[in-house]
Amino acid sequence: MKKMEILEGSMAVTLAVKACKPGVISAYPISPNTHIVGALAKMVADGELDSQYVLSDSEFSAASIVYGASAAGVRSYTASSSQGLLLMTEVIYNAAGTRLPMVLTGTNRSISAPISIQVDHQDTLSLRDSGLIQFYVESAQEAYDMHIQAFRIAEDPDILLPVMICMDGWVLTHSYEPVELINQKAIDTFLPPYRPRHYLDPEHPLTFGSYAEDNVMMELKYMIQAAMDRAKGKIGDISSDFHRITGHAGAGLIETYGPEKADIILVGMGSLVGTMREAVDTMRADGISVGLIKVCCYRPFPGEAILGCCRNAEAVAVLDRGSSMGSEGPLSLDVKAALCNLERPHIFSFITGLGGREITTETIQKITEETMEAVKSRRILRGSQWVDLNRSIL
């Protein structure tokens, strides 16, 4: 029986995490993760969730606590944002390197300074090289479904990496949407209890976290890369399983919208994609050949899938909610790498929506027009275009 509820995005995540029965949860409060960590704490306090909830003294410790729990062979979960994610960074690299699965929610928020609690993707993007699998969601429903799949992906013996579900702060964490919930039996069928092959166990003493000399370092790092590569296929299998068992749409690497052979293709991630869909509809009604790619899985990066969708396009415009300072939008760099050595399409990079700045359908139309204009006049725009800067304060 289907169960539809109007839920705050944070509550959708909380219910998904609860249904996955993590043995250890640890977190530290930072807006906008607070509703998630508070609701989980209340469930534990009320006896609805049989987890050990460890209140940490920092995000660094929270990540370390779930790392320890994972090493002891227990499913574990944490959530953070912004400064908190940066503070966790060292542990996240370490978890990936030690091949310890865990699930994190990254409630997207900008990075200080200047300090702000509003959304952009600088925080989660900055973890892109760590060995952390990253998904970006567009809605509360996707956040719910992705958290359940995240545990299966992280714990898959062919993957064994941390997985982060990135959801835009406030826009998704604090707004209410209808969410269709999955019954516990189906979730239990999809996600059996975690039974790792290797964990800290006095009966089979193992050494974790060894020192690597140059004779093995390359190989051990390569194995993380290989796990990331394998994950692309595995995510497809897990997603099909999820769909078969629950009836819900499973995880994809990318999602497309609009005509298959559009001249202009827009690329984006997260809640922004909702606005992009609307803009695409409006522009298509005006006769513009435009479509979009939503990047669902940012790491491992689905370069081949993107290449497959862009071969016939004139231009690709990538919208980034963060910047690799001194270079350009990180997502645009990945798209450029995926499409390199092709004569067409040209790829344009746009940086927009930092620190919660609103991205309207007009913003997206403007970006599209600028892209079309550049193509028409055979202008190559190098670097990233920072959209709608207020030049009076520069």
């Binding site: 002891a72 062979g73 370490n94 974790f208 020192y211």
Partner: protein
């Protein structure tokens, strides 16, 4: 009963510690006390480096090295996982260096104490960051020369006394705080055993001379450790419920000169009249310990 070497050697030979390394000897004794039903966490430091070259391990118990500053937090997570699994029969123990404990891991350690995880946190104290090449730590004693606070024309070495870490641990109102020395292995063994009986966290600080970093011949490790105890510079005591419950009385009081002169890290104090005057400051530290703790 302390298990005989042949019966239970959980820390195998063949690791890469310097010959005479105090912390290697201490670890061997610590594992005799823990027995096999234990999980050990060691933050980054000499112990981690010399025991874990990939594909080799002297650890005959499950062991994990996470990072430099998160030993206590990782132990907390393991302990929570064991509680979740209903396996509170398995004990989690941290064995970490003074740098990992006094300095960079202090926040995580304070968190573990405050939350009350039943974890004995054992700090092997060699009084500097040895793994990276003998750098100053807040555990470094007054006037010791290190590579980042060396003696020189304008410096006598460490300008501040050693941080009182046992007092900081005790300020968390934890069940048990003790200091030990590798030179008194039975006492060390008993203190680790006691830490393991506690329902909450405990802190055990083990003085472990480091021949390489302190500058003394490797065969003198035990002797130097004993001298430290007998000068009053490394007092051995136990605290429970905030009260001092036992002290190891000094057998034969030694002047600090004897201890300092035996080590390269203090040799600058004996090269001039002024240096010798500085030694009085170290003697005062020893006297204060003797008086406060009733070591005589």
């Amino acid at each position: 009963m302390i298990p005989k070497t042949e019966e239970q050697e959980l820390f195998a030979p063949g690791h890469r510690a310097c010959p005479g390394c105090g912390e290697a000897i201490a670890t061997r004794w610590i594992l005799k006390a823990t027995g096999t039903n234990v999980i050990v966490v060691s933050p980054t430091g000499c112990l981690e480096t010399f025991t874990s070259p990939y594909m080799f391990s002297p650890w005959r118990v499950p062991w994990i090295h996470p990072l430099f500053e998160n030993g206590a937090a990782v132990a907390s997570g393991i302990e929570a996982a064991l509680r979740y699994k209903g396996r509170s029969d398995i004990r989690v123990v941290v064995i970490g260096g003074d740098g990992a404990t006094f300095d960079i891991g202090m926040g995580a350690l304070s968190g573990m104490f405050e939350r009350g995880h039943p974890v004995p946190y054992i700090c092997y104290d060699n009084e500097a960051y040895m793994n990276t090449g003998i750098q100053r730590c807040s555990s470094t004693p007054l006037l010791a020369s290190t590579t980042t606070q060396p003696s020189g024309r304008r410096s006598w070495g460490k300008d501040r006394p050693k941080k009182n870490m046992p007092a900081i641990a005790m300020a968390h109102d934890i069940d048990y705080v003790a200091t030990a020395s590798v030179s008194y292995p039975k006492d060390l063994y008993n203190k680790v055993k006691k830490g393991l009986t506690m329902e909450g966290p405990s802190y055990i600080q083990v003085h472990t001379p480091c021949c390489t970093g302190w500058g003394f011949p490797p065969e003198k490790t035990v002797e130097i450790g004993r001298l430290a105890v007998n000068t009053g510079l490394a007092p051995l005591f136990e605290m429970e419920g905030g009260e001092l419950t036992s002290v190891h009385k000094i057998e034969k009081k030694a002047p600090v000169d004897e201890y300092l002169m035996a080590q390269g890290r203090f040799k600058h104090l004996f090269q001039s009249e002024e240096g010798r005057k500085e030694v009085a400051k170290v003697q005062r530290v020893a006297e204060l310990n003797i008086e406060r703790l009733g070591l005589l």
